[in-house]
Amino acid sequence: MSVLTFQDVVMALERFWAAQGCVIEQPYDLEVGAGTMHPATFLRALGPEPWRVAFVQPSRRPADGRYGENPNRLFKHYQYQVVLKPSPDDIQDRYLRSLVQLGIRLREHDVRFLEDDWEAPTLGASGLGWQVFLDGAEISQFTYFQQMGGLEAKPVSVEITYGLERITMFIQRRSSAFEIEWAPGMTYGELRLQDEAEQSAYSFDRADVETLRAGFAAGEAEASRLLDAGLVLPAYDHVLKCSHLFNLLDARGAIGVAERTTLMARCRQLAHRCAERYVARREELGFPLLRTAANRRPGRARPAAGRAGGARA
C-alpha cells in the first residue's frame, strides 16, 4: 500500500466505523474545542438511548495557536471522533483493527494503552481511560465517560478521539504537521498555514476584548432564555459560543485569575442545565432511539473490510 494521505486516513476511518454500525455525522457548524462538544457527543452521551457515531471535528484552541511557526502546535486541529454507547466489550480490539485499516501492522510496532484520566471542567464532564501510544507517539485518546454535564453517564459511552495530524505525521514520517500530504500533491501547510497565522494573530493580538466580553454575556443570556423556553439545542449552541469566546479571551490574556474561575463555572452551569433539559426532553419524547436501536439490524452495516486482517495482523 502506498503511504496514506491525510484524506485517505479520514476516509479509511469513515469506512471502518461505518462498518461498525456508526452513524457518520458531519463536523458541527460552530467553533468547538473538541469533538466532545459536538451535540452528537455531549448530548447523545446523556440518557439511556444507545448511540454510535463517528465524524471529523475541526477543533479550535486559540491558546494553542503558534502563528504556524511551531511544527506541532495548531490553532485548529482535526479530530476523528468516535462514540459508542453503551461501550462494547471488545472496543479495544475494534480500535486496534481500525489502526490496521490505516496500514499499521501491529506486530511491527509498539502499541500501548497508557492510563489517562480526562476532565472537561467547563462541561462538567469526566472519564477514565488511556492515551494510546504508537512507538512512543500519542495518537488517540480513549475515554469511558463517567460524567457528562454534571450527570452520571448511564449507560457508559466510550469515546475514541484520533489526533488526525499526529497519526498522519506518524504514518508519513513528517516532523511538521505542515509537511503532511493532505491530498496527492497538496500539503497540510498549503491548505492551512495562512489560516493558522491569521487566526493566531487574531486570538493573541487583535481580538477586541470588549466585543468578546459582550458576546459572552449575550450568549449566556440567550442560552438561559432559550433554556427557560425549553429549546435545548439552540441553547446549547449558545453555550458553545460562550465556551469559544472564553477560550479567545483567555488566549488574549484578558481574563484575570478570579474571573477565570467564575466564567468557567458559568459555562459549566449552563452545560449542566442543557444536559438536564435534554434528558427531560428525550424522556418526554419516549427516548426514541431505544426503539430505533431495537429495529436496527446489525447486518445493515457493511461488513468490516478489515476484519480479515484482524487486530493481530
Partner: protein, 710 residues
Amino acid sequence: MPDLLLEIGTEELPPHDIAPALQQLAEGMRAALAALRIDAGVIRTYGAPRRLAVVCMGVASRQRPMVREVRGPAAQAAFDAEGRPTQAAIGFARAQGVPVERLQAREVEGKRYAVAVVEERPKHSAEVLPGALTGVVTRLSFSKMMRWGEGEARFARPIRWMVALLGRTVLRVEVAGVRAGRTTRGHRILGSGPRAVASAQAYLKVLKSSGVIVDQDERRRVIVQQTTALAKQVSGVPVLDPALLDELIMSTEHPQALRGAFDREFLTLPGPVLVTVMQHHQKYFAIEDAGRRLLPYFLAVRDGDARHLATVRQGHEWVLRARLADARFFVQEDRKHRLEDYLPKLDGLLFQAQLGTMAEKTRRLVALARHVSGLLLLDGRTTEALLRAATLCKADLVTKMVGEFPELQGVIGQIYAELDGEPPEVARAIGEHYRPARAGDAAPKTQVGALLGLVDKIDTLVGIVGVGLVPTGSQDPYGLRRAAQGIVEIIQMLRLRMPLRALAEAAAAGYGRRWGPEVLDLVVDFLRQRLRAMLIDQGVRYDLVDAAVAVSGDDLLAAADRAQALSAFAGRPEFARLYVAYDRASRILSAEAASQVDPEKFEVPAEHRLHEAAIRVSSRVRTATAGGDYLNALGELLALTEPVDRIFDAVLIMAPQPAVRANRLALLRLAVEAFRLVADFSKVVVASDQPSTPDGERRAKTTKKVQAAR
C-alpha cells in the same frame, strides 16, 4: 491437595494500581480461607497490565469441622423450676438447629445461660469458595474506580474475563456480569486467541506460551538485564529511575528493551530537561557514562517481542527528536528574557482559588523571608541571597519550559538563574525550595534553600488550612503532608529553635486575613502530628514520642531531640527506676497541694533530702535542656529516684493534719515538675514487651486504661 487459581482479566490497568490490588487480593484470599476454615499453603500473586492473579498452593478440599457455642436466653428464662425447657429455650434451639434437649445451662461471664453447641458440618471447598472469591474481587478498591457498558459494577478498568480453578474444577465465581471459566487470554499482540488453563500449576506456562510473562519479578529482571546490556554496548549505564522501572514493569506483559539514539547537539540542553523529556514524557531510561554525563542514547521498553525492533526504534527516535526539538525551542524562547522579567506575569497565575495569585504569594514569601532573617539574625549576605531567591523562586512557573514540563518547576528556575548570572546560592535555593518533592526525596541541602523552602511551605500550609482545606484520609491535593514533613526536616537539619506558632502567625499576617487562633492551632498540631509520624517511622516508640511532644509546645526541634534522648535512655536499666519514681510521686498528687513548699513544716530528714534534691536537680536539668542535651538531663533526674522512694518509706504523705499533708503534696509536685522539664512520663507505657506497631499501639492503650482504672 489441589491448588487454587483466580485470575481477573481486565483492560489495561493503571500501573500504580496493580501492586496495591495484589496485596488486597492476597489479604482477601487469606482472610476468606481462614473465615471458611479451609487450610491452605503459600499464597502468591501475579500482576500485569491486563490481569491480576492469585495462586494458593495446597488448598484443603473440605472445611475444617467446627463446634460453635451460641449463648441463648438466661438459664432461669430457658428452664423452669423442674429444669424443663421453656418456650424461649425451644425457640432458641430451633433457631440454632439443635434438638432442645441438647441445650446446656452454662456460666458465661458470671451469669448462667442456655447454650447451644452447634456443630458446623464441613462443606466441600469447591462449594463455599465461589461466594467467598466473588466477595474478595468485589471488595478490591482502587485509587479511581469506573463503570463501563450497561453495568453498575466498579473497578479500575473494565473486567473482561475471569479464571477460577480449584484443581481442575472451575469455580462459579461471577463479578460484573463476567462468569469465571478456565479460559485466559494471552498477550494483546503476541498471543493467539483464548487459551484454556488446566490448573493453577499450568498457569505461568500457558501464559508464557501466549506471550505473557505474568511474574512481575521476572519482568523486572528482564528489563534490568536488557537495559544494562544495551547501555554497556555504548560504554554506559542505564539511569534506572525506580518509579519509571516500576511503571514499565506494570505496563508491559512482555517487556523488550531497545536502544535508540538522538542527535549529539541536543546534549547542550540542560541535563534535567533531557532526562525529564526521556523519563516523564517518553518513558525512556537515559544512559550515562562512567562520569555520570548523559550519552546521546535512550532505552525504550516495548511491550512485545524482539522482532521488527528496527521499525519500533525508528518510530521512538522520530518522536523523541520532535520532543527534544520542542524543548530546545522552549528554552530558546524562554532565554530571550531574564528570569526576573517573568515576574509581572505571575499576576495571571493562580496559587489557589481562595488565596490569590503567585505574584501575591511571592510578595508574602519576601516579607516572611525578611521576618525569618530577623528572627535568626542572619548576616547581610545570607539575607540578601534569601530575599533575592524568594523574589525569583516562582518566576519559572510562567516560562514555556515549565508550562510544558510542570515537574521541572524550580529546576528550570535554577538553570535560568545560573545563566542570568544570579549568585550561586540564589540559583541553588530556587532549585531546592520545593524539596522534598515526593516520597523519599531529600530536604533542601543549602541554608538559603532550606529557609526559602521553610517560608514557602509554611505560607502554603497556613493558607490552605486557613481556608479550611485540611487534608483528610488519602486526600491531600495541596501536598500539605509533604510540606509539613519538609518543614520538620528543615527545622531539624538547620537546628532551628523557632517559635513555630509565631512563624505561622507571621505567615497568616501575610495573607492580611483575620484567621482565628484555631487556624494556628491546627497548623502547629498538623506539624506536630507529622513529626510524631516521622519519629515513629524512624523507630522511636510512640509512647516516648508522645512523652516528648507533650512538653515541647511548638518547639519541634526540642520535641525531636527529647524523643531521641528518651529512646536512647529507655534502653538502660535505670529507666525503669526513673519511671517508678515519677509514677509514685505523680499518682498521689492532688489539688490539695499547698501553693508552695514550706521547709518549716518538714518533720523528717527524708523531706529535707527530697526538697534539696528537687531544687538541685531542677536547676541542673534546666541547664542541660537549655543546651539541648536531653540525655544528660535524663541522667540528672536519676538523682531524684532515691529521695522519692525514701519519702514514701519514711512518712505517710496523706498525713492526718491538713497542713502537713498539703506541704508534702507540694514537695512531691516539685519533684514531678523536675521530671516534666524533660518529658511527660505519664505518657510512657511500661510493659514487658514494648509495642511498636500501630496494632501494638492500640493494645498498649487498652493496657494503660486498665492500669488507670485500678
